[in-house]
């Protein structure tokens, strides 16, 4: 595990272009920033970025296909855990034989993200320990995110489709496909004698591991947990190799809910992606909307009216409470307290959903932010009460009461403590190296919160603490979540007190189409699960050229194997529950 180095304070640290003249050159394309690094010297430069410049936290890795320029690019965003803006660097490669050195040995956080770039673009990462497809299956044909790859239901490069809008000519796209399904096969394909690989590469990978442990000759068995299993929080699959009850290897399998957000997002107009972001982490749609709106506002240079900013904070923090309540309830479920704590916590979550429904029209998929504000103002009344009075009662009385109840029954519960304390601890260095974010990172003792590290919106106006843990075990993750609920309530009280009673909620005239200036932007927000980032590239058109989502649940899982190996099989379920994943976001 790579340890983050202390920045070299004695000698002055040279900037990247001074140290590596001719190897790392500033990106001069209009609207772009950061550096372009020569592929053959990448390792040296990345090591310098990590160790000497102090960018110890690799947040996002993704590919971009520049079809007309005939090259592909891998884009990295690294941050300092002390806070501050990103360092963005890129490695370019040609389209015919795309090869880029892997940086997983420097930043273990890159492991799954490089696999994803390989899966989507076919970029080969030299030196990657386990380069297999991650979201699609091994036999799948084609690199779906390449700009010249067309899906079976392909109609046009971008929406709105000319033949449907504004005329309104609706037809079933199935009629265009000979199989009446969303499929396309290579020429001459015949099912007779066809023998798919299936899970062969996965099991080969699993068996490479050192058998470890004692000298006793024991039988090892491989158990598949999922994709249909009540404890995996959705359609997630873990392949576990067991020695008795001990886990000695584990491989997560993704993609059972891969819904092609990014491919669809690049055909959509900018605003059309807003409802799709709801369906990423479907428990926290308000936060997802906010993070996406931030990214596009950054590119368009839009300001947000003060009242809209307060409303966004209100929604974000309520979402955080709702999500943490849900996560805690299901963690308890996984610990064996089947249903009862969950029912109590969902009861409180329903209160928050009622407010969302009254404001945005729907309980879960709120679709509430717009570029330059929010879609609607708060309603005047809610359940025949004045909304502000209702909110006041919820925030000052009902939610604190619910939190107090939760703490009284669970935090010092002997069974919870015995089961969770000391289970799968993770150190601060490991958590940073593995790219964990949100409560996972803070439980390991790193006070890193995007709301503090790089404040967005009006978060710099509020007084709140960042709860941290000490050992990073399951109990710490639980405690950090509970304490974050308390801090969110604190923010909400200030928010209600300071919110302007009247005011604009949009700084621009609402519209359906937006022209976003050419360039790139990485916008991020502190979601309940961790850092949600959007990397967007615009070509000055009405739709994104590249739309990438840095999903916190997905990247938090990079450490799953590390967290689970050495524990018992029953603990794997608890560890997964404590990471708090949502499959919509893991697989996108």
């Amino acid at each position: 595990m790579a340890a983050p180095a202390t920045p070299n304070t004695e000698t002055e640290v040279l900037s990247l272009e001074e140290k590596f003249a001719g190897i790392a050159s500033p990106d001069t394309r209009e609207g772009y920033e950061g550096y372009i690094i020569a592929a053959d010297k990448a390792e040296e430069v990345v090591k310098y970025i990590r160790d000497d410049l102090g960018y110890d936290y690799l947040s996002s890795v993704t590919g971009v296909d520049y079809l007309e320029d005939d090259h592909m690019e891998v884009v990295y965003h690294a941050f300092k855990t002390e806070g501050g803006p990103a360092l963005n660097f890129k490695i370019q490669t040609d389209r015919e034989n795309p090869r880029v050195p892997s940086i997983t040995h420097l930043y273990p956080a890159a492991e799954f993200q490089e696999r994803e770039a390989y899966d989507m673009y076919g970029i080969l990462f030299d030196g990657h320990p386990d380069l297999r497809r991650i979201l699609m299956w091994d036999d799948f044909e084609g690199w779906p995110m390449r700009k010249d790859w067309k899906e079976a239901y392909y109609e046009a490069e971008t929406k709105p489709f000319k033949n449907r809008w504004p005329g309104g000519d609706v037809y079933r796209i199935e009629a265009n496909n000979p199989f009446n399904k969303n499929v396309v096969y290579p020429e001459g394909f015949n099912l007779n004698g066809y023998n798919p690989l299936g899970d062969k590469t996965l099991y080969d990978m699993l068996n490479q591991y050192d058998r470890g442990g004692s000298n006793l000759k024991t039988d090892q068995i491989v158990v598949n947990i999922g994709p249909q299993h009540p404890s995996t929080h959705g359609v997630f699959r873990m392949v576990v190799r067991l020695d008795g009850e001990n886990v000695n290897a584990l491989k997560p399998v993704f993609g059972y809910l891969h819904r092609n957000h990014e491919k669809i997002g690049e055909r959509n107009t900018w605003l059309m992606n807003m409802p799709y972001t709801d369906r990423l982490d479907y428990l926290t749609s308000m936060c997802n909307n906010h993070a996406y709106a931030l990214t596009v506002e950054k590119m368009m240079g839009l300001e947000v009216p003060e009242r809209a900013d307060y409303i966004r904070v209100l929604m974000n923090e309520l979402t955080r409470i709702a999500s943490h309540l849900w996560a805690t309830g299901f963690l308890l479920n996984d610990l064996g307290a089947f249903q009862t704590p969950m029912l109590y916590l969902i009861k409180n979550r329903e209160l928050i959903l009622d407010f969302f429904e009254a404001t945005s029209g729907t309980r879960m998929m709120c679709n509430y932010s717009r570029f330059g504000g929010v879609a609607y103002d708060l309603p005047d009344t809610l359940r025949d009460e004045n909304t502000m009075d209702w909110l006041h009662e919820m925030i000052h009385e009902r939610l604190p009461r619910g939190l107090e109840e939760l703490e009284r029954f669970l935090s010092n519960n002997e069974i919870v403590r015995t089961r969770a304390i000391g289970l799968s601890p993770v150190t601060a260095q490991e958590a940073i190296a593995l790219g964990m974010s949100g409560p996972m990172l803070r439980a390991a003792g790193v006070p890193y919160d995007v709301r503090r590290a790089e404040p967005y919106g009006i978060y710099d106006r509020f007084d709140f603490d960042i709860p941290v843990g000490t050992t990073g075990d399951v109990y710490d993750r639980y405690l950090v979540r509970v304490n974050e609920i308390r801090e969110s309530i604190k923010i909400l009280k200030q928010c209600l007190r300071d919110m302007p009673a009247k005011g604009d909620i949009m700084s621009v005239k609402p519209g359906y189409t937006h022209k976003v200036p050419a360039g790139e932007a990485y916008g991020r927000g502190e979601n309940p699960k961790g850092e949600l980032g959007f990397y967007c590239v615009s070509k000055g058109k009405g739709h994104p050229y590249r739309y990438h989502i840095r999903a916190p649940s997905f990247i938090n899982l990079t450490g799953l194997e590390k967290l689970c190996v050495g524990t018992k099989i029953a603990d794997v379920v608890v560890v997964l529950g404590s990471i708090d994943i949502v499959l919509g976001e893991v697989d996108r």
Binding site: L135, M136, W137, D139, F140, E141, P144, E151, A152, Y153, Y154, E155, I173, E174, P178, F179, K181, N182, V183, V184, Y185, P186, E187, G188, F189, N190, L191, N192, Y194, P196, G198, P227, Q228, H229, P230, G234, V235, G255, Y256, L257, H258, R259, N260, K263, I264, R267, P275, R279, Y282, L283, M342, L343, I346, K347, E350, R363, M364, M365, L583, G584
Partner: protein
């Protein structure tokens, strides 16, 4: 209960009123089945969250006799396909469906399971679970609210009420054939379309030549 089951055409002697009910076997059978539908714990995506909410205290599915969620298909009567069906997941869904004992029902919950929904055009998305397994009730919405889900379940109960032991397929002497499990090849392959795939792809190759 007795009122619900009573067949009014056959009189009951006055002294047995309230103690004895005369009814048809169909009615009794359907009443008992529809009052204890065991759904499978089977969450695919966003809709599963609303399904959990529907089962929890506020909406409380238990009022309608369908709250016993079973984690195994062998003990379930109803599969609620709650979310986007992806190509990677569909072999598992069909396998689960085959593992459920008869009588079994399928509910497509939400836009994605009914017809692909917002993700229909995606390269890894199946445009509706009814392309592979028969569906009894479709519940629209994205996601459907818990109320909508409960309404869908009540519609399913109404459907069960219409069935008759004489005609239901699971009491026929013919064995019910399992649905062939789709294969993950270069793209999703439905084994029932094997020959059609070979034919179409051969035509495409010839046209090119």
């Amino acid at each position: 209960m007795t009122d619900e089951l009573k067949n009014p055409n056959i009189p009951v002697p006055a002294e047995l009123e309230g103690t004895v009910t005369i009814t048809t076997l169909d009615k009794l059978y359907n009443w008992s089945r529809r009052s204890s539908i065991f759904p499978m714990i089977f969450g695919l995506a966003c809709c599963a969250i609303e399904m959990i909410c529907a089962a929890s205290s506020r909406f409380d599915l238990a009022r309608f006799g369908m709250e016993v969620f079973r984690a195994t298909p062998r003990q379930s009567d109803l599969m609620i396909v709650s979310g986007t069906v992806t190509k990677k997941m569909v072999p598992q869904i069909v396998r689960l469906y085959n593992q459920m004992p008869e009588p079994k029902y399928v509910m497509a919950m939400g836009a994605c399971a009914s017809g692909g929904g917002p993700f229909k055009e995606g390269y890894n998305v199946v445009s509706g679970i009814d392309k592979f397994i028969p569906v009894d009730v479709y519940v629209p919405g994205c996601p459907p609210t818990p109320q909508a889900l409960i309404f869908g379940l009540i519609k399913l109960q109404e459907k069960i009420d219409q069935q008759s032991i004489k005609s239901v397929p699971w009491y026929n002497s013919d064995a019910i054939e399992a649905i062939p499990i789709p294969i993950l090849g270069p793209d999703l392959i439905d084994p029932r379309q094997g020959s059609q795939i070979a034919r179409e792809m051969a035509v495409a190759t010839e046209a090119e030549a």
